[in-house]
Amino acid sequence: MTPEFLLSAIIFLPSLGALILSFLDSKAVDAFRIGTLVVTAVTFGLTLMLWSQFSYDEPGIQMLVEADWVKTWNIYYRLGVDGISLPLVVLTGLVSMLAAIASWSINKQHKGYFILFLLLETGMMGVFLALDFFLFFVFWEVMLLPMYFLIGIWGGPRKEYAAIKFFLYTLVGGVLMLVAMLMFYFNTGGTTDSFNLIELAKVASGTSETLTQTLSPNMQITAFILLFIGFAIKLPAFPVHTWLPDAHVEAPTPISMILAGVLLKLGGYGIIRVAFPLCPYGAAYAAYALVAIGVISIIYGAFAALAQTDFKRLVAYSSVSHMGYVLIGLGVWKIVEATGETQNSDMWLMGINGAMFQMIAHGISSAGMFFMVGVIYDRVHHRDLNKFGGLMGRMPLYSGLAAGLFFAGLGLPGLCGFIGEIFVVLSTWNFNPTLAIVAASGVILTAGYILWALQRVYLGPEYRGPHAEDIKPIEAREATVGVILLALAIVFGVFPGILFNVMEHSTAELVEGMKLGYEQAASQVSTTLQAMR
């Protein structure tokens, strides 16, 4: 299969499936379920095929696809994959497939649900594979519409509030990104490569051959702030995280899985693909702020999770806490003020690798945690932590799987959550020991809320809450999802190299490019300063 076809197929196969489903009679519920499962499974297969064709030693973009789109505006249909996007593409395929299995629990308006579900997958894949800024932006916003409806129609009691809040926050981020996008477009003269993310990154590091303009330090700072706010909303980082608990709690289980498993990663991916390489000076300028925000998110999210009585809300806040590590890992870029050189750039590279790993690990563990909450919610129709207890005896397999996934989220050594956190915390030591200690102490809080939750839900003598008679052992369909996720959590925890091998060359290249870019911009700053004197 040619790369052009493969990449486009990964993006548009779900849409094609949605189109076919739209012709079916709305009463054929099983047809929708199975059809969606088949489409997502084939898409996942395609992403694995993409992995098999991927060359590990090549740091840059592979399988580049380029076609005209709107020529008057120099907008192109550019796709490609590198070590940074590949793991996330595969993760998206996997989580979407598992969420499709979890979607059996949807009990109204099936046709609309499954069509929107597939459109959502198109949007997510598109964001990860797009290499044209405009295309990236379009997919970014396209994702918004299905998500709004999926939360708003199939959600819980406060679904309308949650849906509009999600829409509003993301739209604010989108508008800021749009302005930043136009800034890059005009600063590079509006030529054929002005939306090309790869070429723009080269402009920033001064190695571009087609674009001769330089991005001024001030412009880089402005653009970075605009982009960062947009991506931080999605990540989500303190203080723009408030949409997340609402959206998660109200969304139906499979959508929560996708939200936690994939959508939050878009924020981190946006920073690493767009904000960082395009504005290295801005990134260095804001490094402390990034790490500080990350640390606050970790601690704040953990304390908030401790205070929750709603099981799903607890998991939602744990996401805020865990995504803080991503932000720290990306931000630990220590520059020696006197020389303008990067101190210990290998440590920073380790932080970026750790952040990337943390994204994948969180995608697996949090999708699993949300699914586990969903399984018990489908049976007892409540999520009050204080009314659970004793599930270990009634649902042993379920409780075992859940405990494993929650430990993965906790960051127990041997499970996937550990690797990302330890890499990030280690690299933070080089940046600022105090922040490293604070970040590391977040692990204690994490252990606190997760163990306490496990105790309240699964341990104890017997279940005394409502609907006790409805508690049935986990079904084979549900167990499949849990087993796959737990197995992956163990595999990645024991063999982290599977992921690091894929991404290390690309992240190393990113670090090199950004160092170059910073030096260039810094020399520009010092020349201006001298000229002023």
Partner: protein
């Protein structure tokens, strides 16, 4: 001898026939009016429905304009010819607008056929008014003289007043019409006074000569200290006030919500798009006529910035006021006001760039600003008409135009629900719909002009903010349709296929304009070429 007389009156020997050729679309439409009225006189309209005649007439006009369009596109796109004694102007810009208007006329007639307003009795009257207004708007699009500016505006306005009050016997309708007339008359008077001031001082009504004459009058740099320049500036402001009335810009917007609420949704849809298009064409020509000469640059940059400020206020006011509305037509009328604000941002950006000392190097960007405006209008035609059409179609079943009437519509009529969803999301400006692309082009122009004047950054910031503000009330519509349940006592909306098809066609156009390469690229390059054409005569 008679021919000779006309030739002499027309002033430019031999070009009368070319002028008539350029004017043929307007003549066709006027002819159709006469035919429609005559057919009723002889009771032929019992056998040949009036809408068929109307459709045929407007289709022929569109076809004729398409001929002129291809001629201009194949020959020289930036040619601009004044005809009828320099009263009107034929260029790609004018042809673009006239094609736009006649296409919109066809779509409106099709909608009225589907909704059954007007009935058979009134059809000839209604279509005569509709055609008359369209001819007026077409003249607005090609006006080259301040006199024609006034005539065009009036010719478009007078039939509009009657159309707003067309639902006879309904009190709100008559009230709306009266309000519209009073405001319109006031605005026309102010505008006429402004025109007399401008022509009085500058000695010409020819819009392309205004800037150079102003430079002559002011000898040196035109500043407000010079009493003559001051009078002209006052005149310009008065003319702009008249145009602002047509565009429903704040603070000349008061008529708009009332008129739209009182009028039928079909008329409101027509007025919201068509009269705006004509007025924007005029505004662009008038603004460009005043620009491009060094002496007036400073003054006109100030006007451009002022337009930007008006755009901010208009967009913000429209979006905030829409939030509390429960009547769909009223809500959309405020959204119309807000969109006029967005579009005005493009004009402001054009003015600021055109009057900077770097204007020569910015040709392409100025072009793109005008092109963005035209693209916006084209997308706006489909998305706004779509929204009004759905209100009209639902009204025919529920006899209600409040937001409650569409609650849970998705369960009863998916086609209308999805169509409304597409139109609303496009109005917000979310890809992959056309509204996003249009907004992008406008914002890009504003950002570019911000390099010249810092105030345009403020305009851009408010443009972005307003996109967020507008989300609240647009989502109110979406929420009502898709998320809420249809009340048990609500009247059922079942749809014959034609109405669904009409909405689907509009929704598909809105979507195609958002991402389909051939359509977006085609339209945006045509829009840019049209911008180029109107720019070719700047500075006399």
């Amino acid at each position: 001898m008679f021919e000779q007389l006309i030739q002499d009156l027309a002033g430019d020997n031999g070009s009368l026939y070319t002028g008539l050729k350029y004017f043929s679309a307007e003549l066709w439409l006027s002819g159709t009016i006469v035919v429609m009225l005559l057919l009723r006189l002889f009771s032929v309209d019992r056998w040949i429905p009036t809408f068929a005649v109307a459709l045929a007439g407007s289709a022929i006009a569109l076809w004729g304009l398409f001929g002129q369009f291809t001629e201009l596109m194949t020959a020289n796109t930036d040619v601009s010819i004044a005809f009828f004694g320099d009263m009107l102007r034929q260029d790609l810009f004018s042809v673009f607008f006239r094609m736009f208007l006649s296409l919109f006329l066809i779509l409106t007639i099709a909608l009225t056929v589907l909704t059954g307003i007007p009935d058979n009795e009134d059809a000839p009257d209604f279509y005569a008014l509709l055609f008359g207004a369209t001819v007026g708007m077409m003249m607005m699009a090609s006006a080259n003289n301040l006199l024609m500016l006034f005539l065009g505006v009036e010719m478009a306005s007078v039939p509009s007043y009657v159309m707003v009050g067309f639902l006879k016997g309904r009190k709100p309708s008559s009230e709306a019409a009266l309000k519209y007339v009073v405001y319109g008359a006031g605005a026309a008077g102010v505008m006429l006074y402004g025109i007399s001031l401008v022509t009085g001082v500058l000695g010409t009504g020819d819009m392309t000569l205004l800037a150079s004459r102003l430079a002559l009058v002011s000898d040196g740099v035109a500043g407000l200290g010079d009493p003559e320049v001051c009078v002209v500036a006052l005149g310009i402001m008065m003319v702009l006030a008249g145009l602002a009335f047509k565009l429903s810009l704040v603070p000349f917007h008061f008529w708009c919500p009332d008129a739209f609420e009182g009028a039928s949704a079909e008329v409101a849809g027509f007025l919201s798009v068509a009269s705006k298009a004509g007025a924007f064409a005029l505004l662009v020509r008038f603004c460009l006529g005043l620009s491009g000469v060094e002496a007036t640059a400073e003054l006109m940059t100030a006007f451009g910035v002022a337009l930007g400020a008006v755009a901010i206020v208009t967009a913000t006011f429209g979006n905030l006021a829409a939030y509390t509305q429960n009547n769909l037509k009223r809500l959309l009328s405020y959204s119309t006001i807000a969109h006029a604000g967005y579009m005005l941002m493009a004009v402001a950006a054009m003015m600021v760039m055109q009057n900077s000392d770097q204007a020569a190097g910015l040709g392409q960007e100025i072009n793109a600003a005008v092109g963005g405006l035209l693209y916006y209008l084209a997308v706006y035609m489909f998305m706004n008409l779509g929204a009004f059409a759905i209100i009209a179609l639902v009204r025919n079943y529920t006899f209600d135009e409040s937001i409650d009437s569409i609650r849970g519509l998705s369960s009863q009529s998916p086609a209308l629900a999805v169509g409304m969803g597409v139109c609303v999301f496009s109005l917000i400006g979310i890809p992959p719909f056309g509204g996003f692309f249009a907004k992008l082009m406008v914002f890009a122009a504003v950002l570019k002009s911000a390099e010249i004047h810092w105030f345009m950054y403020v305009v851009l910031a408010f443009g972005g903010l307003n996109t967020v503000f507008s989300l609240f009330y647009y989502l109110k519509i979406v929420k009502a349709i898709f998320i809420e349940e249809r009340p048990a006592e609500a009247r059922a909306v079942t749809l014959p296929s034609m109405e669904g098809l009409y909405v689907v066609v509009l929704a598909v156009m809105v979507t195609l304009l958002g991402f389909f390469p051939a359509v977006t690229e085609g339209l945006s390059s045509i829009a840019n070429a049209a911008g180029n054409a109107v720019l070719s005569v700047v500075g006399g």
